[in-house]
Symmetry: C2
Subunit: 387 residues, 2 copies
């Protein structure tokens, strides 16, 4: 199966569509495992520029087919590659993981809710609503408040809105009539939750699934700010249930690579699925430094259908803190000396992106046997990169 | 100090001379820390090809000066860059770490023995011998046997020979007369040792030094085969002494970056310095996966004069096994599926080099709380890549 010439020719060859930080963080494990990694980036100077062998539009079939030539597998930094492009790859004989049919479920939130409901998995009450009249009916049934989501293209709190009146989504209904974003919005009950959790698993095409420990995620303004691994006090029933949910999604939807299942732990002790992501995910970044096999290595192994690695953690606790926005003046590099001097156990990740308010530009992880200490150190380290 | 344009312009910029596996393994931490890493490789298709921005001869001043333009620091994959090239860099205002004066001590084994002896550090009995008469005198004083070494260019057992008669080094004396390898050979007593150890430290230009745990190294045919971290049973006096020796060398010789001190633990309970290396070293590979800060990250931090990271290990034991030669047929990639299926806790490192008898083409590391189990697993994992 492997080519026999020297150099890159001998290696498994993985192509990643999208040049963001997720593609960037696939580079280190690719180097260690001896994989040849190639990135199709949106622009010059992308976060994954070191491995960017091509710059082009991932919505263009010819561009993507040219990129995929001679690759062993194509995978993704994001979930935005259109279905017709994905299907053209498959028709051309390219191995694509996750497969188009699975990715479709992550690309459209209404389709996601339909599939999860069909599978009998726990989700918030939901409906697809085509106009404000249908939204009004849902609000009337759910105490006068709900969450409205655009089915496609939302991330990090974008495309999500809490509404208390049926006219508060009129602009989105108007946009539906004009665009190609489907013919309905998703509306969900506003869940009363104690905290948010995330369960990451990885699945090979041949079927094996491994799970990392269930984690707690702390959101600020709709964006993940911190992750605690494992989720405190969730060792028993909750962790088991989360694992079952994620494995069921992976198996039944046929997800390959890393699957992230974001969950609400409700005030009445239920777990409800909030979102799915079919790629390495912010809530799994702790595993790069905190587990035997990090999510980026595991994703590469999974999409190549290689046996999966141990997900055992290195320490009792790992805490990851995102760096949002970055320094107001200068660059992250300017802040490295002070951060490193103050926190010698912090694992620093700078995504090589220009600082901009609210933008994820890096993260730090601290592991140890004392949770409070790890939380404090991770926050302290991240704070050197901010403000 | 940092540039303010987008992309690579914002990052610290490190240049590495030499495109071998040591340069290759600097790439992952450079990506994580947001450093811009550039490699001057000897040839196309080098082990560090992903970061190789230039291919050229490191013995050519103009080539190296052109490579060093706009770099924050130049460091090395090997110790073979000639002194006149190093000094030209310094004269051009380039920061070079380790500095030429320190590297000189690693480049010439006679100079190394002289400096270590001046510093009062424990070394085997030695002499610089210019002809077989001087060698005969040394043999007569040391029980009729000794180790002869060429002062320059030796590695992995090359340039090292055990002799029992004064004429057994005649070919090397003849070569001395012809070449630029100095005017003497190094001869040393044949040390009766119980085992070999290695102490790695890292030092910043501003002076801070950190040490990893002392490790035991198992050699086969003059080449490092396995490393056990920490060295079993060496927690007390031996570990303390090894740390003192390495710190003294780093401070007094002015080494910057990673320094490896290879040691003999003698049958009469002494520690004697065998070799020095002023770069990340095979005996420190376990730290990539087994310590909070691996040697390659630490080397980058040190040569940039950034604060050093914690060297704490993740587990009670880490065992590294080298992959020597590689598979007789096919490539390492062919063997990955079987290796990964058998050893899910093994951290695999494939240097992207063509298999060749005796060549270091990769390594594996296994960490855990049971030494025998870790040794067994590391050997088992490495064996999938061999034969």
């Amino acid at each position: 199966m492997r080519r026999t010439q020297s150099g890159d020719e001998m290696a498994f060859r993985v192509g990643v569509i999208g040049g963001g930080q997720l593609a960037r963080m696939m580079v280190p494990p690719a180097v260690h495992l001896g994989l040849d990694i190639r990135v199709l980036a949106e622009a010059e100077g992308s976060s994954a520029r070191l491995a960017a062998t091509q710059v082009g539009d991932y919505r263009d079939v010819d561009t993507v087919l040219a990129f995929a030539r001679d690759l062993d597998v194509v995978t993704f930094d994001h979930e935005h590659v259109p279905q017709h492009v994905l299907r053209a790859l498959v028709e051309a004989g390219v191995r694509v993981h996750p497969a188009p049919e699975a990715l479709a479920v992550a690309q459209d939130k209404i389709l996601m809710r339909q599939r999860l409901t069909e599978l009998g998995l726990p989700v918030p009450d939901w409906a697809a609503v085509a106009d404000s009249g249908e939204l009004a009916a849902f609000l009337a049934d759910h105490g006068g408040r709900a969450v409205v989501k655009t089915p496609r293209g939302g991330y990090d709190g974008k495309g999500v809105r809490v509404v208390r009146a049926a006219d508060e989504a009129d602009d989105w209904f108007a946009a539906l009539a004009e665009g190609d974003q489907g013919d309905a919005l998703l509306v969900e009950e506003l869940v009363e939750f104690r905290r948010e959790l995330a369960q990451l698993v990885a699945r090979r095409p041949s079927g094996d699934v491994v799970a990392w420990p269930l984690v707690e995620t702390v959101q600020r303004d709709g964006v993940c700010a911190e992750v605690i691994a494992p989720a405190p006090g969730a060792a028993g029933r909750v962790a088991e249930l989360a694992g079952q949910i994620a494995r069921t999604v992976a198996d039944e939807v046929g997800v390959t690579g890393v699957l992230a299942v974001e969950l609400f732990e409700t005030t009445d002790d239920r777990l409800l699925i909030n979102e799915l992501a079919m790629r390495p995910h912010n809530t799994g970044h702790w595993s790069i430094d905190g587990a035997v096999t990090g999510q980026f290595e595991q994703h590469l192994r999974a999409v190549l259908d290689l046996p999966l690695g141990s997900t055992a953690p290195h320490a009792d606790w790992s805490v990851m803190a995102n760096v949002l926005g970055g320094p107001e003046q200068g660059t992250l590099a300017d802040r490295l000396p002070a951060l490193m001097a103050d926190q010698p156990t912090a694992k620093v990740h700078d995504y090589g992106k220009d600082p901009r308010p609210g933008r994820k530009v890096g993260h730090v992880t601290v592991s140890g046997d004392d949770l409070d200490d790890a939380v404090w150190r991770a926050r302290a380290a991240a704070s050197f990169f901010e403000g």
